[in-house]
């Protein structure tokens, strides 16, 4: 049966048909939909783990116990999970274990750009790269078989464009469950990595790599597509599609298994073509591995190593390198750079807006329309931030975030700044899902080392940024079942923090007084700002309206950055189709002229 599936859906279905029984993940664009798709199957155990490291450990435990297991994560998620990933490589896996890493070339929705293919050299494990949804689907069964045959975790590398493109998949398989017994075969020398045991594993790993390299030579994932022999292109992943389109006549060595490299196959291909190039996204991973064989090859000389590729970029590189006859591409109009941009915003009724308005005001950062820019350096507050929807508070008009590095960093950074001796009060702001992911240990550190900082936990009851996944604080599992909820205030108090306040996210007065008291406090303080995500829990009633008689156009309400508050010919008005009404009322609370109120139902 043919279906139009995204790469993520295809990876999930492929894993399901390959008999996966345990799947663990932490959400992260562009990987999130893999676990969401698998969680719909009732005969799979699927969980949102607290973070990627835990997900990797859960999957490893399942694999040890004889069950095929899957981890899916975004590129930076593998940074977090690297310790257990190395362990998995060292001990081997018993039943099949596949890790899907979805990289984000072009940084569509991430904090950095990194090419996770490099990790397989460090971990000495095989790497598979699909180039469309059909391959993504087919590859999973292959990956699990390979994992078992070679007793190794297998890394499957997707990218945003693979994960988030839909293409036609012939769904040819059915779910097959391995006949293996569930049960953990105790074996200390394999599973207890005391130094003496770990030393025994080293030669096993090196031998495994040699066997995998031999396997790669004959793998059906690697294939030659002959065209004209004047140009041979080595490529993998989505870059294959772009190259096929831009070079319709060339010969191709299409690699689906990109590590260890099929060296003889590459040598053979190189010997048959006049000129060989590599077309790959991000770093020269294939190129450098091929160069190490002493083969002359080029690629990154004209295909950019920064950002996402597309057919236009590949074509431009090819023209510049003289690989394609023809003229330079059409002149751009550059219209886009002159048009107003449309960055994403905090939604109308977002529970993050109020607290950032307060922080921005107290930090003297707000700027009324037409007023001169205040120097940010003069702010009396330093606000270390974290990752989530709330990172959007960095943009004007709120301008209320000073750092965002990686998940969980806000608290440690705040502590570091304070210990470094900055005069400013330092506030760390972190979302609920992010706090549970990696904010707990730094907060314990702040307790232990007596950090005089304020930590604001934004509890909107969901992982909003990545599309509203549940997390350990929500009381609902990845498969929609009711479960235990971790209570943030109990957790924080249990660490020994006395100064803990819980505030309604839509009560501006309470927010102001909580922030003021916490900033004045000589001890470590925590404010939990609670209010449900407006998208997740859509409630609408009595949208607000502006009384144009009372309104004097001071522009204060515009400083919230609420998308429902707009201007037309200098007059502020509220878009009633966007405003959530009674549920929020923040604009009404901050209006100095009391010019905002509910619409009166007729």
């Amino acid at each position: 049966m043919k279906e139009l599936l995204s790469g993520n859906e295809a990876l999930a279905l492929g894993a399901y048909h390959a008999g996966v029984r345990v799947a663990a993940a932490y959400p992260g664009t562009p990987s999130t939909e893999i676990l969401e798709s698998i969680a719909r199957f009732e005969d799979v155990y699927a969980e949102w783990s607290t973070n990627e490291k835990v997900a990797m450990e859960v999957a490893l435990g399942a694999a040890y116990a004889g069950v095929r297991s899957l981890v899916s994560l975004k590129h930076v998620g593998l940074n977090v999970a690297m310790d257990p990933f190395m362990a998995a490589s060292t001990t081997g896996v018993n039943a099949g274990m596949v890790v899907i890493s979805a990289d984000d070339p072009g940084i569509h929705s991430s904090q950095n750009e990194q090419d996770n293919r490099h990790y397989v050299r460090l971990a000495k494990v095989p790497l598979l790269e699909p180039s469309d949804s059909q391959e993504a689907y087919d590859l999973m069964a292959y990956a699990f078989d390979m994992s078992e045959e070679f007793d190794t975790p297998v890394l499957v590398r997707s990218t945003t464009r693979i994960s988030h493109s839909k293409s036609v998949v012939d769904v040819s398989r059915r779910r097959v469950l391995a006949a293996t017994q569930v049960g953990f075969p105790r074996n200390e020398r394999k599973y207890v990595m005391l130094p003496g045991h770990a030393r025994l594993r080293r030669p096993v790993i090196e031998e495994r790599l040699v066997k995998l390299a031999a396997h790669a030579e004959g793998s059906p994932l690697n294939r030659i597509e002959w065209g004209e022999r004047s140009l041979g292109i080595v490529t993998s992943g989505i870059a294959y599609q772009y190259a096929r389109e831009v070079f319709p006549k060339a010969s191709f060595l299409k690699l689906g298994m990109t590590y260890p490299l099929a060296k003889d196959l590459v040598r053979h291909f190189a010997s048959q073509v006049d000129r060989m190039i590599v077309v790959e996204e991000l770093d020269p991973f294939l190129q450098e591995n091929i160069e190490a064989l002493g083969i002359k090859v080029s690629g990154k000389e004209f295909v950019p190593r920064i950002g996402e590729l597309n057919p236009s970029v590949v074509e431009e590189g090819a023209l510049n390198a003289g690989l394609l006859a023809g003229t330079a591409p059409r002149q751009k109009t550059h219209v886009d750079s002159k048009l107003p941009r449309r960055p994403p915003l905090l939604c109308p009724g977002c529970p993050h807006t109020g607290i950032f308005f307060v922080l921005s005001g107290m930090g003297k950062r707000l700027k009324l329309p037409g007023a001169k820019d205040r120097s940010l350096r003069k702010s009396t507050l330093t606000i270390t931030g974290d990752i989530g929807c709330y990172t959007l508070a960095t943009y004007p008009p709120l301008s209320a975030m000073d750092t965002t590095a990686c998940m969980g960093a806000s608290i440690g950074q705040a502590l570091g700044m304070k210990k470094a001796g900055v005069d400013n009060k330092v506030v760390a702001v972190i979302g609920d899902s992010t706090f549970l992911h990696s904010g707990i240990t730094p907060l314990v550190d702040a307790v232990y080392n007596q950090g005089r900082i304020t930590v604001v936990i934004l509890d909107n009851g969901t992982t909003a940024m990545t599309g509203h996944q549940d997390h350990p604080g929500t009381g609902v599992s990845a498969q929609g079942k009711e479960t235990e909820a971790v209570h943030l205030e109990q957790l924080v108090r249990g660490m020994g923090i006395g100064d803990v306040r819980v505030v309604d996210a839509f009560d501006m007065k309470a927010l102001r007084s909580a922030v003021r008291s916490s900033l004045d406090s000589a001890a470590l303080s925590v404010i939990i700002v609670r209010g449900e995500c407006a998208v997740r829990v859509p409630r609408r009633s009595a949208p607000r309206v502006v009384d144009t008689e009372k309104c004097d156009q001071c522009g204060t309400c515009l400083l919230l950055g609420c998308p429902a508050i707009q201007t037309e010919n200098g007059q502020v008005y509220i878009d009633t189709t966007l405003c959530v009404g009674d549920y929020c009322t923040i604009c009404q609370q901050i209006c100095p002229r009391q010019a905002i109120g509910p619409t009166v139902e007729e």
Binding site: T29, R330, P340, Q566
Partner: protein, 199 residues
């Protein structure tokens, strides 16, 4: 069917992705090869959304080359102008005559281009430009959220698929309690599209 490369664009929350998904599904049902891909920046509302849909005998890249787009369907005016470099000379543009000013415009930091400017930008590449009042028509049907099906109705005039195939796809993809109003929006889009001679 000849190869068709389409861009569907708008603002987060307008239903661009569902509409472009449905184009892909109908094309598949008609036996074509299809690839489609969405770019929506951070997975948030309110930002620019762009879907590439490619239909043909064999499609390689899911992304369309610059100067390669045959049909642009824009749910918002400013977003229509943004993608002009992707249009091939002579392309068709269907533009919802509706403005959603970004925050920077509301704050007075940037200016929303006027209709003349938007048409002028599109004319640099497009052969035919249709401005249609989709938002108004959807409002008249009592549900602004049906705009995407209205736009799909207009776009369907340029694609050689049976009307029934679109409706079958709508029944599969749209919740039953709002199915009727969405079908009505699709029909109205087709009708009003014909009125301005799309096709």
């Amino acid at each position: 069917m000849n190869n068709v490369d389409m861009l569907v664009t708008g603002v987060g929350g307008q239903g661009v992705i569902l509409a472009s998904d449905m184009i892909g599904e109908v094309a598949l049902a008609a036996g074509c090869d299809v690839k489609k891909t969405d770019t929506l920046g951070m997975a948030q509302r309110g930002g620019s959304v762009i879907s590439n849909v490619r239909i043909g005998q064999k499609v390689w890249s899911p992304l369309i080359r610059e100067s390669g787009v045959d049909i642009l369907v824009a749910f918002e005016k400013l977003e229509a102008a943004r993608w002009v470099d992707y249009l091939r000379p002579g392309a068709v543009a269907i533009v919802n005559n509706h403005a959603l000013p970004p925050l920077s415009v509301n704050l007075g930091d940037e200016r929303y281009p006027n209709d003349e400017e938007i048409a002028g930008i599109l004319r640099q590449r497009a052969g035919r430009i249709y401005f249609i009042n989709g938002t108004e028509s959807a409002k008249k049907l009592g549900n602004v959220r049906t705009l995407n099906m209205y736009m799909l109705g207009c776009a369907s005039l340029l694609l050689a698929f049976d009307v029934q195939m679109w409706k079958d796809c709508m029944s599969r993809r749209i919740r039953s309690n709002v199915l009727q109003v969405n079908i009505a929006a699709f029909d109205l889009g087709r009708k009003e599209g014909l009125d301005v001679h799309i096709g």
